[in-house]
Assembly symmetry: C2
Homo-oligomer: 383 residues x 2
Amino acid sequence: MPGAAALGLAGPRFVVRYHLTGPEGAARALAEELRYEQTVEVHQEVVPPGPIREHLVGRLEGFQRLPSGVFEAALSFAIETVGSELPQLLNVLFGNASLNPGVRVARIEPPPEGFEGLPGPRFGRAGLRALLGAPDRPLLCSALKPMGLPAKDLATMAYQLALGGMDLIKDDHGLADQRFSPFEERVARCAEAVGKANRESGRRSLYAANVTAPSGHILRRAHSAKAAGAGAVVISPGLAGWDAVRELAGEAGPALPVLCHPALLGTFVADPRHGIAHAVLFGQLPRLAGADAMIFPTFGGRFAFSPEDCRAIVEGTGEPLGPCRPIFPVAGGGIRLERLGELREFYGRDVVLLIGSWLRLAGPDLIANCRRFYRAVTGADPD
Amino acid sequence: MPGAAALGLAGPRFVVRYHLTGPEGAARALAEELRYEQTVEVHQEVVPPGPIREHLVGRLEGFQRLPSGVFEAALSFAIETVGSELPQLLNVLFGNASLNPGVRVARIEPPPEGFEGLPGPRFGRAGLRALLGAPDRPLLCSALKPMGLPAKDLATMAYQLALGGMDLIKDDHGLADQRFSPFEERVARCAEAVGKANRESGRRSLYAANVTAPSGHILRRAHSAKAAGAGAVVISPGLAGWDAVRELAGEAGPALPVLCHPALLGTFVADPRHGIAHAVLFGQLPRLAGADAMIFPTFGGRFAFSPEDCRAIVEGTGEPLGPCRPIFPVAGGGIRLERLGELREFYGRDVVLLIGSWLRLAGPDLIANCRRFYRAVTGADPD
């Protein structure tokens, strides 16, 4: 058998904390099983003695009962199991484990230098603030919808949202390349509209084009959006794959801020005994992939996330994570204007608040509604 | 407002059956909400009157209480909401709905002509049988592992598995491009080894190279694998995104059978009240994406799927689905040799049985173990 050096096993290890539900004996047995399941994926009797058994098989570094009654198993894995590829990091993290009941990924602890090929967000909180010229207030976002509106109507909406003071104006995640508003035309018109509003207002609102698309089209659409004047891109990793985020944020991408939308991701957090914890799914994973902001459904909206879930997400977007910069949590999903005070209090300043429908239900004048939103959040007028 | 024709709303509609958990009133309200949530994604008061409201908003075509007590809502959607892109089909299917508790996608009913751009599997059951020269028996599969073995040892294993009569010899899904067995070297050696075994045996075993990789590398690796002599590819859509399957199966792909691995997908079926039903996740979705075979963890192995779950998966791989051919269910996940009779009985002939570790634990001679496996499943010797 080759030695550890020949296997390239000289690198550091990273830790994944799993929460395991069940009686202690079963939880311990499952923790032992995950050492194999997430790496060599063979029965332990089949693992050859030597460096594969000693280094590549996961190590159980800690096992404890938490106050909630759940057991936490801290497993460490050789960085070489991942190589330099995000899909394989996801595999070691939760690939086969996702097929076991009662397993939840509670935290990822990368080595200080992080994972090869995953430097994290290009902009992060500070970079996005610098682009927007908004050094210390909460940021504001709205979405262009409903699907079915022609591009020129979406562009009018984008213009009004920008004039009203929205920092980020994003395509709804359901605007793809349908014939009622084809990608190229929509993006060109909306980018132009936001640019016009910026020239009139003197502000720097960013239009985020949705580039969620078939695999071969994502980068092309992102570059085309940038050429048309878009200031950011939005993508749904649940629909397009997490690696698409890395691709957009990386060297081959358009060098624009990347927003992530949670479409299709909800199942991972739906059962507290299974899946991927809120802090990981909406905080650590998008950062590892290179997103600059992650949208999630806040408490007080139309989805079922609790204040504790949201607190965990905020932590995941900001706490230390190897070399990855902190990113913005984007709280959305049915925010009503009358709840803004409470949300403002809860989230503090390092947040993006995303309002869709309720900005339009508040009255016939969209610009006036935006200004009301802005004032409620920042305590000042956008001008 | 533009008319329905201008919106391109002349096409057919497709139906999604959702299973909703809860009291009837709440289930009905949720069904109504999904009409908007999965399409226009705005509060219904914001939807402009006319064709968007009449055609693009989902329609509730049926609502009934099932014997299990769950409510089934049949929603129809205009084909134009999807356009011709798989990520957007996933979005209409379960994008925001995944963020709601108590919603499960139970079935997709495409129009007879299917979805634009999604013709389904290139080979399907019949095509794969023709390639293998195995017109009517169950097929056999094993995997190359553990990770950490150098390419030459994996190739030796591939040679023995092919000589022993395995139809499909696949890379373990955790073999990516790590330095201990880089993709190019591994694939070249394993393809060569299976080719050598085929020349000696006169059979037509296929080596399936794992092409789960960062976005820009998947097609390139697939073509490189084909050039090296690989007869199939394997990909994990949970890790790489479902659209990567479509890309591999489509015109730009290598024209090889595509196997899918379930890594990271387990969460979607973990809670029977939420997510995506087994028949959809392991049957309909892979077919729509173009896979020719879908691996899942069978009952009687080390994961928690029930016989009913497995029966549903088999149905999903074979029942009518627009223009999509039937594909092979690949039952794996800890199959022991002594359970083969039961599994053979349960699955019948249109199945691939995948054995990993237990083929090696059965004795020191891997070729002899394969032949025992072959005999137990087919009642004959491989020669």
